[in-house]
């Protein structure tokens, strides 16, 4: 599998470190509760199909990126820089 880094172009997956589901959001301070934190830390959709996920280009430009990938076929739909998405 190769990932299209927005900065470096298509690179081997060995250059990247995986974090997981990019849809997980830490609850805001005013919505913080044990149940909300449990959902954030432990529970995952784990879809068979399209998933948005965080990868770190740890042996490359060291940027965090969000890759949209099919978990059944490893087909890559897109890869974007994570920072603008997180700052939304």
């Amino acid at each position: 599998m190769r990932l299209p880094c927005p900065h470096c172009g298509t690179r081997d997956v060995q250059e990247f470190t995986y974090l997981g589901d990019a849809n997980v959001k830490r609850p805001d301070a005013d919505e913080m509760s044990e149940a909300a934190m449990t959902r954030c830390v432990y529970e995952r959709d784990n879809p068979a199909g399209r998933q948005r996920e965080y990868w770190h280009h740890s042996s490359g430009c060291r940027a965090w990126i969000v890759v949209t990938r099919d978990t059944r076929t490893h087909r890559i739909e897109s890869a974007e820089r994570a920072r603008p998405l997180v700052e939304d």
């Binding site: 995986y18 997981g20 449990t38 784990n46 996920e53 978990t71």
Partner: protein, 416 residues
């Protein structure tokens, strides 16, 4: 037909023309007392123990493909009970005891071979950690021996004892560990369950769960709806997909784990050996092939095939342990989809939906657990309370903080 030396002799005289299929290819009835979703090792064992220990017989096992086509036929066939934590050790030791009596119990040759599992250590601190693990095992009634370098060398003279980075200093040996022919486990449990009246329905995919405010009432399948008061999920690899049909999100990610087998060799390795400085383990099958494996690929995957970087990593670890492996050719490799739970330990529990039970999250270790998993899951389904040795495998432990984090890496499924 009961299998014995006499039936074998009688069949031999008749030219082996009288063997009957080992289980019926059942069609689904409209209603059952218990439906088990998933015809793998755990599902079939659960059905068998529900029938043999709890007197139920109106049971169906629904399997999407054919039985044994999932992880029970994709693992590396190792059994052991060398766990450290109190939530795990009694469960896996119970499983080991069930393995020891399994073939007589189900009248099926599963080729249970207690050839010993040896975990190598490569540093003083790792020796201390293994000594602690061995003591925990012995306190729980399992067997463990701490071996020094010379004792290991006498057993396995061909390993690389003077590796510059990872010299072998010794190992923790569990003599009762070993390997079992994995397909025979699925077939043996299927035959034994079938003989007690369980319907094993193959090519029957569950497409939905019938749930209302009172709980579950049955399942929708590719072969029509089937009613049941109790539905039990034993579909590791796809647990999240089935649970999503009930509106549940599980503390699980699906990851692919690869395994490898070499060309057949003459008898060479009479134990299961694990490398302590990387993730690599190897044993020799009765056909002569070396069976080995390592880490998961590390990203969510439902593809039953992996990628090359992990293959390279496994081969490098193997070469660091046993340089002679470089002369051996790999014959084939494959992948299976694991339920990687958030703390690396399984779940055998009720769900918030009344009548829906969950057996999931087996990570790397589902095969060795097959008998105890079936036994404890059957206990839960029949009696609605946890079996004592599986009481820690609760679904709510992630919310309450009672994690069973054997590797101590936290909520990182790809690191367990």
């Amino acid at each position: 037909m009961r299998y014995s030396v006499f039936t074998l002799a009688a069949q031999t005289l008749k030219g082996h023309r009288g063997w009957k299929p080992a289980w019926r290819d059942a069609s689904p009835e409209p209603e059952y007392d218990v439906i088990i979703v998933g015809g793998g090792g755990h599902g079939l064992a659960t059905a068998y123990y529900l029938a043999s220990q709890h007197g139920l017989s109106n049971i169906a096992v629904l399997e999407k493909g054919h039985i044994g086509s999932g992880n029970v036929g994709r693992n590396t066939t190792i059994i052991r009970s060398n766990y450290l934590l109190p939530g795990n050790t009694p469960f896996y030791e119970f499983s080991m005891k069930l393995w020891e009596g399994l073939e007589q119990e189900i009248n099926y040759n599963a080729m249970v071979s207690q050839r010993g599992v040896l975990n190598l250590y490569h540093s003083d601190s790792q020796r201390d950690a293994y000594a602690r693990r061995g003591n925990a095992m012995r306190l729980a009634g399992a067997d463990a021996e701490l071996l020094d370098r010379d004792e290991v060398r006498a057993m396995l003279p061909f390993l690389d004892y003077d590796n510059a980075r990872f010299p072998i200093q010794g190992g923790l040996l569990q003599r009762r560990g070993g390997s079992v022919r994995h397909d025979a486990v699925a077939w043996g449990y299927a035959r034994a369950a079938d003989r007690r009246g369980v319907d094993i329905v193959q090519n029957c995919e569950v497409t939905g769960l019938t749930i209302d405010a009172d709980g579950i009432h049955g399942v929708e399948t590719s072969r029509g709806p089937i009613k049941a008061r109790k539905v039990a999920l034993a579909v590791a690899g796809s647990s999240s997909r089935l649970a999503a049909m009930a509106g549940l999100r599980l503390p699980i990610e699906s990851h692919v784990l690869q395994a490898f087998v070499s060309e057949g060799l003459k008898p060479l390795l009479d134990r299961v050996v694990t490398f302590g400085a990387g993730h690599f383990y190897v044993s020799q099958s009765d056909k002569g092939g070396l069976v080995f494996g390592g880490d998961i690929d590390g990203y969510n995957s439902y593809a039953q095939r992996g990628n090359l970087p992990v293959i390279e990593d496994v081969m490098e670890s193997g070469m660091a342990l046993w340089p002679g492996l470089g002369r051996v050719r790999v014959l084939r490799h494959w992948g299976g989809v694991m339920d990687m739970s958030m703390d690396g330990s399984p779940i055998i529990d009720h769900t918030p939906v009344r009548g829906l039970y969950l057996n999931a999250g087996w990570c790397y270790g589902g095969f060795k657990a097959t008998p105890a998993s079936g036994w404890c899951f059957a206990h839960l389904i029949a009696r609605d309370h946890h079996h004592p040795v599986a009481a820690a495998y609760r679904l709510d432990r992630f919310a309450t903080g009672h994690l069973i984090d054997e590797k101590g890496v936290g909520a990182q499924p790809n690191l367990h």
